[in-house]
């Protein structure tokens, strides 16, 4: 976890209590450091720099909320702000998006 990410977490505006999902045009490739993400629509690449973040992102679509996905990944309360910041970055680049409940 980089200090840069933790610093960003302080101003995180990501809503952990809503349902989220991976964007359908995003492809995920697991790597030893975490994962690579590629968005076929925006043609942007991004990195998940920890395996735990990959676990969270992979389970977003099935979890009722992002907070629950983080809990299932075994994250502690203290770790949440940094992960919320990472998810916010992913949301701002359209890698993940809010899930509209049917």
């Amino acid at each position: 976890m980089s200090t840069e990410t933790q610093a960003r977490g302080a101003r995180a505006g990501f809503d952990l209590d809503r349902p989220w999902q991976l964007h359908p045009q995003v492809s995920v490739r697991p790597e030893r450091f975490g994962a690579l993400l590629y968005h076929f629509g925006t043609r942007r690449l991004s990195f998940l720099k920890s395996p735990a973040l990959l676990t969270v992102v992979s389970s977003l679509g099935d979890a009722p909320t992002a907070r629950e996905a983080c809990r299932l990944a075994g994250l502690t309360e203290a770790e949440l702000p940094a992960y919320a910041a990472a998810l916010e970055t992913l949301a701002s680049s359209q890698m993940i998006r809010e899930r509209v409940s049917s």
Binding site: Q25, R32, G34, R44, L45, S46, K49
Partner: protein
């Protein structure tokens, strides 16, 4: 390969705590993306063509072989391919291969001089989410462009842009190789891109292919490099660079993107006959890792080639190690050094600290390695008004003094990387 490309050190798996750039430097199990030159055939004869294209190679991969490569890329989860040439659209199966790739979850970006982008092709491209287009343009005016790319090539490129814009294709790329002659036109290039709703992409001139013959006359001067750097910093992420100017990071602030040579580590080149090279700018036997027609196909080349294993070993920085800028520029571009006759573990020929110029002076007189393979048209040279070519030597065989062709592509495949969320 007869000599090691880099100082050897034990090959070990990096621990996951390494910074991302270090992870990439040690190589990934599959490329993130790669450049695939589909053909050496080209209607143009650009003087700086880095694949010395012009004539089709009779050993070109067949449609079936290309599809098999795409199947493999899908299995390896290679996100996309940067298709170039030659002029890739002159292959009769070009659109078929594009469709096959996107249907198999391999995205396509292709580079073209625009010759086949008629209104119908433009509409087809505009309708696909999985295909991106780069139109090559090396001058913001016909005079500057055509001196390098050949008569009429400016009009062809502009016509293709107009068709794409009229078809509603937003954000296609206009790809410019920055030269001494066009570096003063950066604002004009940007204006052209804005006019067509396109995005400007600037890349570095490499002394590769026929580019080796014209590099001395075309590469930006030291002063122009500084001007280019300042312009890039001012325009930030609005302008793409294929991350090809990482040697300029030695000026101070790093440019957007990943400052890393990904050759053989996270990117590579597949050429029209299936040869796999470390990068698009390194078509030479010294950087040839294998062929996709071999047993095990592309995956075996990527994972088992000795050359790539060498490139993935930690590098010492050699003569650059003690330089304050080394952490930023990492010694610059391997291909640029190789084809100007400089040692791979020393400064880039365009080192912003001036070490490259000194090294070039010291190496003057020695002949740098020649690019392998020449598919140039065996025709008369394209008339160039800027005097970039030495007079043809009538004592040489036609292929050696032949010039022409172009290749549109020029992609450092790490383009578009965002630093990504931390974790």
């Amino acid at each position: 390969m007869t000599q090691p490309l880099v100082t050897r050190a034990p090959l070990t798996r990096p621990p996951v705590t390494l910074p991302l750039v270090e992870q990439f430097a040690c190589g990934l199990d599959a490329p993130i993306c790669l450049t695939w030159e589909l053909t050496y055939a080209c209607n143009l004869s650009c003087v700086h063509c880095l694949s010395s294209s012009g004539r089709r190679d009779p050993r070109e991969l067949t449609t079936a072989e290309c599809r098999a490569v795409i199947d493999e890329l899908e299995r390896m989860q290679v996100f996309y391919v940067n298709i170039g040439g030659g002029e890739p659209t002159v292959r009769p199966d070009f659109w078929d291969l594009v469709d096959y790739a996107t249907a198999h979850h391999v995205g396509v970006k292709f580079s073209t001089n625009g010759v086949q982008i008629d209104p119908a092709a433009a509409r087809r491209l505009a309708a696909s989410d999985y295909v991106d287009v780069q139109i090559s343009l090396d001058g913001a005016t016909a005079e500057v462009n055509d001196a390098v790319r050949g008569p009429g090539s400016y009009a062809t490129a502009l016509r293709a842009m107009r068709h794409l814009a009229e078809a509603g294709f937003r954000g296609f790329k206009i790809s410019v190789v920055v030269t001494r002659q066009n570096v003063s036109q950066l604002d004009d290039f940007k204006a052209i891109a804005d006019r067509f709703g396109a995005q400007l992409r600037l890349t570095r001139l490499r002394p590769s292919g026929r580019g080796a013959d014209v590099w001395d006359e075309l590469h930006p001067t030291a002063g122009q490099q500084r001007q280019l750097y300042d312009w890039l910093v001012a325009h930030g992420e609005q302008v793409l660079t294929g991350d090809s100017f990482f040697h300029l990071a030695g000026y101070g602030e790093a440019l957007p993107g990943l400052n890393l040579c990904g050759a053989g580590r996270v990117v590579c080149l597949i050429d029209p006959i299936g040869d796999v090279y470390a990068c698009p700018f390194a078509i030479h036997d010294s950087f040839l890792a294998g062929n996709v027609r071999g047993p095990g196909g592309f995956a075996a080349v990527w994972r088992e080639s000795e050359l790539f294993a060498d490139l993935r070993r930690p590098q010492t920085g050699g003569a650059c190690h003690s330089c304050s800028a080394y952490d930023s520029c990492r010694g610059g571009c391997m291909a640029a050094k190789f084809f100007t006759g400089l040692p791979l573990d020393g400064p880039d020929p365009e080192c912003v600290k001036g070490h490259g110029e000194r090294a070039l002076s010291a190496a003057a007189g020695a002949s740098p390695p020649r690019p392998s393979g020449d598919h140039s048209h065996r025709t008369h040279p394209v008339p160039v008004s800027i005097g970039v070519r030495p007079p043809a030597d009538p004592g040489l065989p036609p292929a050696s003094r032949g010039l022409p062709p172009d290749r549109a592509c020029d992609e450092s495949p790490l383009a578009g990387f965002s630093p990504g969320p931390g974790g």
